[in-house]
Symmetry: C2
Subunit: 590 residues, 2 copies
Amino acid sequence: MYRTHNNGQLRAAHINKEVTLAGWVQKIRNKGFMVWVDLRDRYGITQLIFDEERTSKEVIEKATKLGREFVIQVKGTVIERESKNANMPTGDVEILVSELTILNQSETPPFTIEDDTDGGEDLRMKYRYLDIRRKPVRDNLIFRSKVAMAVRNYLSKEGFIEVETPYLIKSTPEGARDFVVPSRMNEGQFYALPQSPQTFKQLLMVGGMDKYFQIVKCFRDEDLRADRQPEFTQIDCEMAFVEQEDILNAFEGLTKHLLKEINGVEISEFPRMTYDEAMEKYGNDKPDIRFGMEFCPLTTEGGVVGTFEPKGFPVFDNAELVVAINVEGCAEYTRKQIDALVDWVKRPQIGATGLIWVKYNADGTLKSSIDKFFGEEILKQWAEKCNSKPGDLMLIMAGQKNKTQTQLSALRMYLAEQLGLRKSNEFAPLWVVDFPLLEWDEETNRYHAMHHPFTSPKPGQLELLDTNPGEVKANAYDLVLNGNEIGGGSIRIHDKKTQALMFDYLGFTPEEAKAQFGFLMDAFQYGAPPHGGIAFGLDRLVAILGGQETIRDFIAFPKNNSGRDVMIDAPAPIDHKQLDELHLNVVIKS
Amino acid sequence: MYRTHNNGQLRAAHINKEVTLAGWVQKIRNKGFMVWVDLRDRYGITQLIFDEERTSKEVIEKATKLGREFVIQVKGTVIERESKNANMPTGDVEILVSELTILNQSETPPFTIEDDTDGGEDLRMKYRYLDIRRKPVRDNLIFRSKVAMAVRNYLSKEGFIEVETPYLIKSTPEGARDFVVPSRMNEGQFYALPQSPQTFKQLLMVGGMDKYFQIVKCFRDEDLRADRQPEFTQIDCEMAFVEQEDILNAFEGLTKHLLKEINGVEISEFPRMTYDEAMEKYGNDKPDIRFGMEFCPLTTEGGVVGTFEPKGFPVFDNAELVVAINVEGCAEYTRKQIDALVDWVKRPQIGATGLIWVKYNADGTLKSSIDKFFGEEILKQWAEKCNSKPGDLMLIMAGQKNKTQTQLSALRMYLAEQLGLRKSNEFAPLWVVDFPLLEWDEETNRYHAMHHPFTSPKPGQLELLDTNPGEVKANAYDLVLNGNEIGGGSIRIHDKKTQALMFDYLGFTPEEAKAQFGFLMDAFQYGAPPHGGIAFGLDRLVAILGGQETIRDFIAFPKNNSGRDVMIDAPAPIDHKQLDELHLNVVIKS
């Protein structure tokens, strides 16, 4: 036993008790006749005191030689502090040390182990084991573990069974790129790491497991964008004998439970919105509805609101969509502020050609960047349409529908961030439903499954596949929280014929379909029940519940944007012997 | 909503209720005027009844066309059964069906979906999704999930934090062979899948996480022996500021909790045995102590018990060890039975040259296979030494110490199995402690770490490394249950100097040590606390708690002995495009 108590435990009630503590030296203050040491562990900080009058000379001497991050063990008596610290749970007491053992020394760490450290991201990642000693990082990992336990307990109570599905599976070209694992025992053959346990969970439904979940690592060999990881964790779920409504209710239940249990927030019912509605109102299939700023379309069938014929303003005349957002209380934005917004939307990441503004001044007058084309009378009609009030600023974009929606959505989110409307302690979940079954892929010049090839179309819509594929809606849904997709799923196809039709439509030859998903098609012959499911991104979910948006902060040992673990320096070359055993040659092109 | 109740739910109290059920057709009995269908789901079986008088003609007709494993939905009324079935929870009632919907048809399954199926192992694995519909398989998976939840809840309550460590790590040549994952973004470089999160959990201790656990998949590319899987699940644990005693107590607590929670068995305290003692008493470092049959050495310093000089029996005279077991009540074994035992130990898997028997007959006389060399007086002394009573059979082996111990241990286990002494509902855990630090490897002709290179030697024994390395004992322990190692761990080295010494001793050059474990050596510079841990094999633990020994039965989608998943047919060749992206060529030798 290295300790009788931890460093977050001692209170006034323990005064006069003999204790043994162990931990890291956080801080040393040496006043010559007195030395204070802050001793730290996972549970907190306890102040140690060594003083000339009450501590042996030898122990004091040892204490003065301690350095930051030394690991020590002390024995001593809990005494009352002279100057109490109300900000520390242990702030009423300190330990008068009688014995001091140095368990391990420490070099000076490469950055300070403080809540606000002087270490940059790269340095902290290289020495992640020191970064984890910092309270914010440690708290995030503990928070993650708490969320995962809450998920497991809730789902278990609801009758879900956690089943482990295999990690060494089979590569399929559909979807993102697989990580593969060469097989030594099967020459020239490879396993793949799962992008998700999708087919296995469907097979578990065929197998009658009824309600399945798993918190499971998944893998995607993608070019990494910011805050994407090659390995990530999913809360993967599937239910049999369900319709969409059953799934939404079950996982609305889970999400409510988490918000209550973890964040103390009660939400009665989650709003539902169709994909089309989300795109129209927010230009985004994962809208942040913590704040308004809804899209206000200025185009009607007859043309732009308030006009009945082209006004000679080409930006509008040629636009498929003219759409505004109303930014409350921002009519007084300066020229410079507005120019900054214009510049922001023109950046290549957004790619807009311009931004039109209309100020509804406090005195009731209206002023716009297109006064030349549209008189105050028309501007007023726009303001009315958009519920704009004196003091507000309207921002307008125009152009091709999809692009304009995406660009204005980005601006809406940017403004909300700037204006402090995205409050991390506010939670606004919603379901987005009725997603399109297919989406057009410019690169391959054909339709792809928007969700995955196992998603079922809405009843009666299968017939549209040939005539109007982009219009076919799916039994697919996303759970959105604060502008992030935290979960997504669908009701699956469960009959062999429809599944074959889908594979065919997605460009699989019957042979390819058989080679890759033959086992699923086989399974569908033997009484597959109706089923559906959902998967949550645990990394993202935890970050949002934790009031943050960077998933890397909630992963113990994350990889950088090149997929490297800079701490252990992986990936790395392997032995020739290993390659030989795997029947592989590395081909370096240079 | 496909159903109002599941098929395990309805009782007499539900009589007259209108219900909707869904599930699989287990069985159909058609008496012409009446049709009964057993409807099955995860929760149980409910009997449906269709009869001429009360069911519409159309519905009856549909019912007669149902086949086994069809997926159906029925509406109807709960009625009292005429002949109740006390063996079924739902046996008091049946459903008088008014509506029948076929949700999916089924081909005749390749084997019967019954507790005792007619399907062989291979067929069941190919159609594992149908195998899982069978109650024993389904129950095993549910049992596994229950055990895992009990582990998580117990450890969480004890302050352990579940931290996810990465799956894409770095290959190290020490230990078993790694599975590797080629990196597309880092030409010619590879990740490795973890054989265990060993170094990461140690880094979490350096990082101050204090108490860590994780239920985690691990991977080993070994030639598969029976009942080994290339991917397996570990309950991985680590604690800081602990001595061996703290770890033993903590995980004795976990194991007691599981035995109580899962099996309803209370065990007060686990016996502890040193490795040396286990080898002497049972010839085995994971002894099954549910039954006696302890080893009884017949060699003393002066020679074989009862003799003071060589007796001209070369088997004994040249033996390093002569050792017996006493098999209670088997003195009446026939010549044929004993010959079978002799044959059994002579099989190449055991490799013994022979087996000596001594019958202690019920009438008090003694008879042996070596009467020529040893008179009854000497046999009597052996019997006394081994607590053999009239009616017992002593079996004796002799030869080189290690080999003889291993062979007699195998015989002991075989006999216990034959005699029904290994009762699956009896649980006898014990700790085996003080393992050797090193073990001799014949192949490489040098010592290897018995546990792994991070295991700390017992205090003061490091000095023996140079003079008597085989004698150095480690702070290493195994938890043994019913003759299986279910967990093993050690107190780790936590200072850089000792770790460097160990790497050196194990044949790593400083450069190799740095390349492979540099991050750990670095970490040890910055205040590593004393720490240690343990890992349990979840697959094995679950099987044993479930009263079985085949881990495959507790894995949803296991691989066969060639590491293949015969259901999805993996591993499999991959596209040339994929290989190109990974900078790899497959080299097929033929």
